[in-house]
Subunit: 311 residues, 2 copies
């Protein structure tokens, strides 16, 4: 086995890159621009050039490198092929074949949310666990599910797409996926803003939120300050997430739920609101599952991508 | 590898037993009584005696037997231990250790619903698939989930407990599990009778169901005969199941949903009502999942138990 492994996380703006040893210690970390033009055709060549340049810099031979792991914002099948990844301009892309051809190194590819879950399992909040559900609450709601130490990619690359669990029959807005009432519409950073605006419009109840820009942060700051209307928003938010996690637990029964993404910066209070609706709605044995905040932040992707190579 | 394998399915009334070759052909099939008295302490000795007698009858040596697989109606951990299985009188039972001690053969144990899913994957409706969700619609709603050819047992033995996904906020009756509004309360054989009785009480609409005993069978017979009220019951039933399966698909993204249990005798019409509510509520990529009726009936358990030994 080589002594080094590269972890690459391809995002819509930048490609995050990491050089790791096989124990998961990060030795170097850098970013390159994601060139989305012309169907994103420069992205993998740019990654290859950057990896090879790093090896040259550090006098690392190919034999010393176990491989390159790549996280992609889209579905990835078991062969490491991406049917489409709109955020980075890709139509079909055979990531493994392309990048192996460009570097001569072993390559593995996976969906970015799944890969982030692997990262949190390897060196983050779920360290030591083998059955993990990661929920990333950002602009959308992403998910990654690991069972027995392995990512559930799914038969159609949609394993862990928990943001599209249907949770609200009354929702009239259409989700990016085309459905209505998805978890992502109600319990993302944008979802919580929508919930707050709706509650503010429905009542005259005084709230500090009436005097400021509404964001996930301002809502949870108001919750902590005891604002009653903000607490009602948090209750609703917790109910959507708690019930969805309760359903997920009846399917895969994880040891731990890891909550990441921008919204998780609200801290432990977020977990309290989730647990309040998780516990009464899940199967008794699953009440033992833990809820923790993600630890690796934006680095979860590069850690997990590197870990993927070592599977 | 031995040429034979035993599959044992421990139920509340009888223990079903099967002798298989390693390709999954059943060579012999029989049943013994489940003696639940005294904490079910005779069950495993009875199984051992029955297996050893069968080997004697057929002049099968121990070296020719790959092992014994056992399905149990309760949670089973990775070591093959059962914390409790009320239906057969058991408190804690170390199935693997006990039965290996009694027979000198290798033993594996698993939850009966999970094991049935393995059976349908090996020689039944999901033959050739590796990612399978089995839902058993009987007195309750059981589930078994297979990903990458392996059962998801779960961190607390509750993997695949899909009957306890919360689906109805308005339900006031309490489920056997202690919660309210579980899928099992609404979409089992008993659930469909409850739905029918409620709809009959709520309206004066004429229906053939008013003149007969209500059962899952009579409801679906009336559906096929064009009875409008029965069709409304089937819609509600399909909605509960379709939405629950849609959520499950966003978690594990299976190739196929296999529907078994007594209710599945209604036939393909059942699948139509489920798909009607599955497709609009699941993630687009998961719409490709197939829905099929189980094929092995009450034998799924012995097939799957035998298959478990060969993993």
């Amino acid at each position: 086995m080589g002594r080094y492994v590269f972890g690459i996380d391809v995002g819509g703006t930048t490609v995050k890159c990491g050089l790791f040893d096989v124990e998961g210690n990060v030795l170097d970390k850098w970013e390159i621009i994601t060139r989305k033009e012309e169907g994103g055709k420069y992205i993998l060549p740019d990654v290859a050039a950057s990896v090879l340049a790093k090896m040259e810099d550090r006098s690392i031979n190919k034999e010393d490198v176990e491989g390159i792991g790549v996280g992609v914002p889209g579905p990835v099948n078991e062969e490491g092929q991406v049917p489409v990844a709109v955020n980075i301009g890709w139509g079909f892309m055979d990531v493994v074949k392309e990048l192996e051809g460009l570097t001569g190194l072993k390559v593995k590819a996976g969906n970015d949310a799944n890969v982030a879950a692997l990262g949190e399992m390897w060196r983050g909040a779920a360290s030591g666990c083998k059955n993990v559900v990661l929920a990333t609450l950002g602009t959308g709601v992403g998910g990654g599910i690991i069972i027995g130490g392995k990512v559930i990619a799914g038969a159609h690359g949609a394993g862990g797409e928990i943001g599209h669990i249907h949770v609200e029959d009354a929702e009239e807005d259409v989700c990016n996926c085309g459905n209505r009432g998805c978890l992502e519409q109600m319990a993302s950073a944008t979802g919580i803003v929508k919930l707050a605006n709706r509650l503010l419009a429905e009542s005259d109840e005084p709230s500090v939120l009436r005097a400021q820009e509404i964001s996930a942060k301002s809502v949870f700051d108001a919750v902590k300050a005891g604002d009653s209307l903000a607490q009602k928003v948090a209750e609703k938010f917790g109910e959507y997430l708690g019930k969805a996690f309760a359903a997920i637990a009846c399917v895969v029964d994880p040891e731990v739920f890891v909550i990441g993404g921008g919204v998780s910066k609200a801290g432990p209070v977020l977990l309290e609101y989730i647990r309040r609706y998780y516990e009464p709605f899940t199967f008794s044995a699953c009440r033992k599952a833990e809820f923790v905040l993600a630890r690796l932040g934006n680095d979860a992707g590069i850690y997990g991508a590197a870990r993927m190579v070592l599977e």
